[in-house]
């Protein structure tokens, strides 16, 4: 029907077949466009990471999606409480909290704020013990929202008792491309000293409005304390374990690396509790994983086995990140984009300077840890670290004012991919 037009169109196409083109220029254009997209991607990832870094020092986020075994009893219990599914979704990567729900230690609150500017907040429920309060909340909006987040929280005891907070976390921004009317999340408080009162008020700030919600906690279940005073040893490096305390929300392992060690232990990667049947309670996967300073007294937190009554209980460790004590710093020349010094394992492949960021590529696929805790100039003056960030390819750190620095800088390691191994097992019970 349109034979002539089709022929003409084919002719038209052929004329472009022999068009002169510069492949160099084409490739250049491709790379410019690609780099622009990467830069934006990095920026948006960083935005998220910088929010995390305000939450607490030792947060470790692993997108682990473990399946949970739900017993028929548990399943029917969940279906009895309205809105329980979303809470199970939030705690599915923490065995201890799931067990708390299963053992009816989860306390329903159902406190809802007044509506301000089309928005209200509900406290759905809580799991609490003498050292911590975890609140589950839902933000409701009359209009669909693509993104919502809590800007600030403030917890107060109604009787005015001062609260000595050790860590506060209230999660990442909630995002949904389609937009949603409600988002659920958790607020976690842990304290330095045991709580003495039960009545609280929490102020939650969302989109510039403040919502105040009262709640009263039930009686706490008492902690179980196991004195240990034994030593673990990985490749000659000694770790003294003082005690283990099991709370409903988490297990705290009190330990300290021996001062005579040649290596500085950076992270106890697979520290865990195992019972006589081989069931394992590992590290906290989404939340505060520990407190204290490497080389000094530390508390490492594990998922709680409080609601499980084992005959025997062991503390097990096979692998820890460690570097020689004289290799605690990575030295980088930002001008030359070169690594001048790093631990002998030599696991950092390369460094690039992008704005204020030092973007490290590693010799391994993924290393999901923020590597550096502190930065210094060569004469020892401290330089501010804005945040660590991780993408699929890069492990980066943003240094305040890096783009104007001419001198090399020293970065103190808090994590590094070199390990000491062993097979340590201490009986707790």
């Amino acid at each position: 029907m349109f034979k002539r037009e089709e022929e003409q169109l084919n002719e038209f196409k052929k004329e472009y077949d022999n068009i002169p083109l510069s492949l160099d220029k084409l490739d250049q254009a491709i790379m410019t466009g690609f780099n622009k997209a990467k830069l934006e991607e990095r920026r948006s990832k960083r935005k998220k990471n910088s929010i995390y870094s305000f939450i607490a020092a030792a947060l470790l986020f692993i997108g682990l999606f473990s399946s949970i075994r739900i017993s028929p009893v548990f399943a029917s219990y969940i279906s009895e409480i309205p809105g329980m599914e979303k809470i199970v979704e939030l705690i599915r990567y923490d065995k201890g909290r799931l067990a708390a729900v299963e053992n009816k230690y989860y306390q329903e609150l159902g406190v809802t704020s007044e509506v301000k500017d089309g928005l209200k907040v509900t406290l759905d429920g809580t799991i609490a013990d003498e050292m911590g309060i975890v609140l589950y909340y839902t933000l409701h909006s009359e209009e669909k929202q693509k993104s919502m987040m809590i800007d600030k929280v403030k917890l107060r005891a109604k009787d005015g008792t001062a609260l000595d907070e050790a860590s506060i976390s209230y999660g990442a921004p909630h995002e949904s491309e389609k937009g949603q009317h409600s988002y659920s999340g958790e607020i976690e408080y842990f304290f330095e000293v045991p709580l003495t009162t039960k009545e609280y008020m929490i102020d939650i700030e969302v989109s510039g409005e403040k919502y105040s919600l009262p709640f009263t906690l039930k009686d706490f279940k008492k902690k179980k304390e196991y004195p240990i005073n034994q030593t673990m040893e990985l490749e000659g490096q000694k770790i003294n374990v003082e005690k283990v305390i099991v709370y409903p929300l988490r297990i705290a392992v009190y330990l300290e690396a021996d001062h005579k060690n040649e290596k500085q232990v950076l992270n106890f990667d697979d520290l865990r509790i195992v019972d006589e049947k081989g069931e394992v309670w590992g590290k906290i996967l989404n939340g505060v994983t520990g407190t204290g300073t490497n080389g000094k007294k530390q508390e490492i937190y594990l998922q709680s086995n409080y609601f499980h009554e084992p005959k025997e209980l062991y503390l097990v460790l096979n692998s820890a990140q460690a570097v020689n004590k004289d290799e605690l710093f990575v030295v980088v020349d930002p001008q030359q984009q070169k690594i001048l010094k790093q631990p002998e394992a030599n696991m950092i492949r390369d460094v690039k300077v992008v704005g204020n960021d030092l973007a490290f590529t590693m010799k391994m696929k993924e290393f999901p840890y923020g590597m550096f805790s502190e930065a210094f100039g060569m004469s020892g003056e401290k330089i501010e670290i804005d945040y660590n960030y991780m993408t699929a390819e890069e492990n980066g750190v943003s240094i305040h004012g890096l783009s104007t620095r001419k001198e090399p800088i020293k970065l103190k390691l808090s994590f590094y991919p070199s390990w000491i191994k062993g097979n340590e097992k201490i009986r707790i019970k």
């Binding site: 068009i19 084409l26 254009a29 410019t32 690609f34 622009k36």
Partner: protein
């Protein structure tokens, strides 16, 4: 098949796979840009912008086999946006001359006729004849039935005929 593997990787966020794909189709993209826009410089800018848009959007690509159509469509959309902007710019004589010199008559004629069409017709004709894409793929990326694409294609060809006849007629006077 191999390309489809690359597309799948790219959707999952593999940068190397993404860049390889752009390499495969860069000449197609460039020719498309050149057929819509005025010169090399603008076409290169288009490549840059399309690479950027494609990278940002690739996670949303649902069907790996439609990658090429999807990518070319990003280019066509970009060019259409540029053309709208250009309409507000007065073309100076220099540019007119350079077009006259570098392009032969029949190309000019068809090209002008194409640029005189509505956006959808221009898009359909470019996908079908410039890139030899199948109706099925075009329908898939546009998320509409093949019948609809065929109807659009017929309308586009008819409109093109009218445009060409308009010009031909003028020349014959």
């Amino acid at each position: 098949m191999e390309t489809e593997q690359l597309v799948k990787k790219a959707i999952k966020g593999n940068d190397d796979a993404f860049l390889q794909l752009i390499q495969i189709y860069k000449v197609d993209l460039y020719k498309t840009a050149l057929s819509f826009l005025r010169n090399e410089e603008e076409a290169l800018e288009a490549i840059q912008e399309v690479t950027y848009r494609a990278y940002k959007g690739i996670r949303k690509l649902k069907e790996a086999s439609y990658f090429k159509t999807w990518l070319i469509r990003i280019m066509i959309n970009y060019c259409n946006d540029q053309l709208k902007k250009q309409k507000r710019v007065v073309i100076n004589e220099e540019v007119l001359e350079s077009i006259g010199v570098t392009e032969n008559h029949s190309e000019m004629e068809l090209r002008d006729a194409m640029l005189g069409l509505d956006e959808r017709s221009r898009e359909i004709l470019t996908l079908k004849y410039f890139h030899d894409l199948k109706i099925k793929d075009i329908a898939g990326t546009m998320q509409c039935p093949e019948g609809t694409v065929k109807t659009w294609l017929n309308k586009a060809l008819k409109a093109l005929r009218e445009k060409l006849e308009e010009r031909g007629g003028n020349l014959n006077v």
